[in-house]
């Protein structure tokens, strides 16, 4: 079981690191957001007691985790279209191992990218290095696994790239904006605050912000508990949906 998960994971890693340029390009957009939105908005908008760009830094990490995790599940559709899925399905390996291997593969890629961004933020002085980084790492893992699983649920129902892209554009942006990655949720109207409770990324970003710069809406243990529960739920659901989709 463990060795099967490792094999599937290993292949994802080989593929990902063969396309190293993809990692660089997936860093570019969030980096521009951080610099231009961070400096631009930060110049005419201030938060009590902190720099806007510091506030934004954990949000951008959340952004990377969200986008990269969701899109990594595209690999399932690729495998299906290029036939490789059959090679995996006919092997004496359980469906659960396949899902977990895929999930960890996608999550690893997202976490590596997010970690590079975190280092950049520290180097550029937006975030102070502290012990909290260790907690941030925990939230990075949870957030990545959570959204890869959600991506897999969608991918296991999708035949084509086009369909996947469409669902993604209707899902990713609201999830991103509602999470409080860009602005403090405390000052938003009640409906928005209410909706944000149903967004898994809210807890991810809040947890990252609490760990990295010490301000958060909820105590860290609440973020951790809620996000862990959501993540576990989606892992099981993803595993179930994937097994069902391949029969």
């Amino acid at each position: 079981m463990i060795s099967d998960i490792y094999t599937i994971w290993l292949r994802e890693m080989l593929r990902t690191f063969r396309a190293r340029s993809r990692i660089i390009s997936s860093l570019a957009m969030p980096f521009f957001w951080l610099v231009f939105i961070g400096v631009g908005i930060g110049s005419s908008f201030s938060l009590p007691g902190m720099n806007y760009i510091s506030f934004l830094s954990p949000g951008i990490i959340g952004m990377i985790l969200l986008f990269n995790s969701m899109f990594s599940s595209l690999s399932v559709i690729w495998d299906r279209q290029f036939g490789f899925l059959k090679e995996i399905l006919v092997a004496p390996v359980s469906r659960t191992s396949i899902v977990l291997g895929k999930t960890l593969g996608g999550a690893t890629m997202a976490i590596v990218t997010a970690f590079i961004m975190l280092l950049l933020e520290i180097v550029l002085g937006f975030v102070n290095p502290s012990f909290g980084i260790v907690f941030a790492f925990v939230f990075m893992i949870l957030t990545a696994v959570c959204f890869v699983s959600i991506g897999l649920i969608i991918a296991s129902r999708m035949e084509s790239m086009e369909g996947f892209q469409m669902i993604m554009s209707f899902l990713i942006m609201p999830v991103f904006f509602l999470s409080g990655a860009l602005f403090p949720l405390q000052n938003t109207p009640a409906w928005m605050q209410f909706a944000s409770h149903f967004d898994p990324l809210t807890y991810g970003v809040d947890g990252l912000r609490g760990s990295m710069i010490g301000t958060s809406i909820y105590p860290l243990w609440i973020d951790f508990t809620v996000l862990s529960a959501i993540t576990l739920f989606f892992i099981f659901m993803g595993s179930y949906m994937f097994s069902k989709s391949v029969r």
């Binding site: 290993l10 292949r11 593929r15 290029f82 036939g83 029969r247």
Partner: protein
């Protein structure tokens, strides 16, 4: 011992029957062919035997395991799918490595076997190149090599030469024959190419609409068609009247040509010419036509196997096939 034993195997998709109570026994070491048009149910049979699909009814025993012993069957068979199933972002060697790991081969065995199967299909030099740089024939060979990685007792080849040019096809045939002989491997292949079944297979089952309509060695099947037909042009009616030997099975005057059916055309031609010479009968040309598996197929189904226009039912089959394939 039988490598595969199938009893009344049936697969229904809703109200459509893709495989219709097929019974079959395939011996160890046999090179067995399932011949039939697209959508005849060949791929469905293979998918059931490879435990990718569950049958609606019937039993099957593969290498002594029953269909519910999924992992045991999977470890004891190799399969090459009709559609390409390689990761073309990886190298040939990495594809084999992945396969070996998935089948739980220990590292040293894996490494040894990779070299073995690579040399079996002559891909040693290309092993470290990305698969996307391979030609169609090379990809096929790599897939065959991969199917052999874990020392299966049975190798399934689903349309192994589909879409390959004639020269590459010949080339693949040689590899398949070689495997069957040298590795003592039981091979089951599906094909809709007559020549392929004829050239390669020890025995052939002709399949149409999910049923086996004929089964035997290619020679037996062809012989069952009555024999070779010699078509003679010249003073045909005169020749007809003097040809009364007992080795002449049938004679028919068709378009001014005398069609003589005999069991062995090659040895009958000189005899016929001798008889014609003795009687001073003019012979302009002699044409020998041996029955093909195509004739066998036409005989049983009343249509050619390569009819390009699929009937409505066939199109439905294709659709259903496409559906479960996703």
């Amino acid at each position: 011992m039988a490598a595969i034993k199938i009893e009344n195997l049936t697969k229904k998709f809703d109200d459509f029957t893709a495989v219709d109570s097929v019974s079959l026994e395939i011996e160890e070491g046999e090179l067995f062919g399932l011949l039939g048009p697209n959508g005849a149910g060949k791929t469905t049979i293979i998918s059931i035997l490879a435990t990718l699909l569950k049958p609606s009814d019937g039993k099957a025993e593969i290498n002594g395991f029953f269909l519910h012993e999924q992992d045991k069957i999977r470890k004891s068979i190799g399969i090459v799918f009709q559609d390409p199933s390689l990761d073309d972002q990886l190298t040939g060697r990495e594809n084999l490595e992945f396969h070996g790991r998935m089948y739980h081969m220990p590292k040293n065995l894996r490494e040894k076997r990779i070299e073995e199967v690579l040399s079996l299909v002559d891909l040693k030099e290309k092993a470290n190149s990305l698969v996307k740089t391979y030609s169609g024939g090379m990809k096929r060979r790599l897939e065959i090599a991969r199917g052999l990685m874990h020392h299966p007792k049975i190798l399934f080849l689903d349309e192994p030469t589909l879409g390959l040019d004639p020269q590459t096809r010949r080339n693949i045939w040689e590899y398949i024959e070689n495997l069957n002989e040298k590795e003592k491997l039981t091979i089951i292949l599906t094909t809709h190419y007559m020549e392929e079944a004829d050239y390669l297979c020890d025995r052939v089952a002709i399949i149409d609409h999910g049923k086996i309509i004929a089964l035997g060695t290619p020679d037996e099947l062809k012989k069952s068609m009555g024999g070779d037909v010699i078509s003679i042009e010249g003073e045909a009616d005169k020749l007809g009247s003097v040809l009364n030997e007992d080795w002449v099975k049938e004679k028919k005057l068709l378009d001014g040509k005398m069609n003589v059916t005999v069991s062995s055309g090659e040895s009958a031609i000189p005899k016929i010419l001798e008889i014609a010479g003795r009687g001073g009968i003019l012979v302009n040309s002699v044409n020998l036509k041996k029955p093909t598996l195509e004739d066998v197929f036409i005989h049983y189904t009343g249509r050619a196997i390569r009819e390009e226009e699929a009937s409505k039912k066939d199109m439905l089959r294709q659709q259903i096939k496409g559906e479960w394939k996703r």
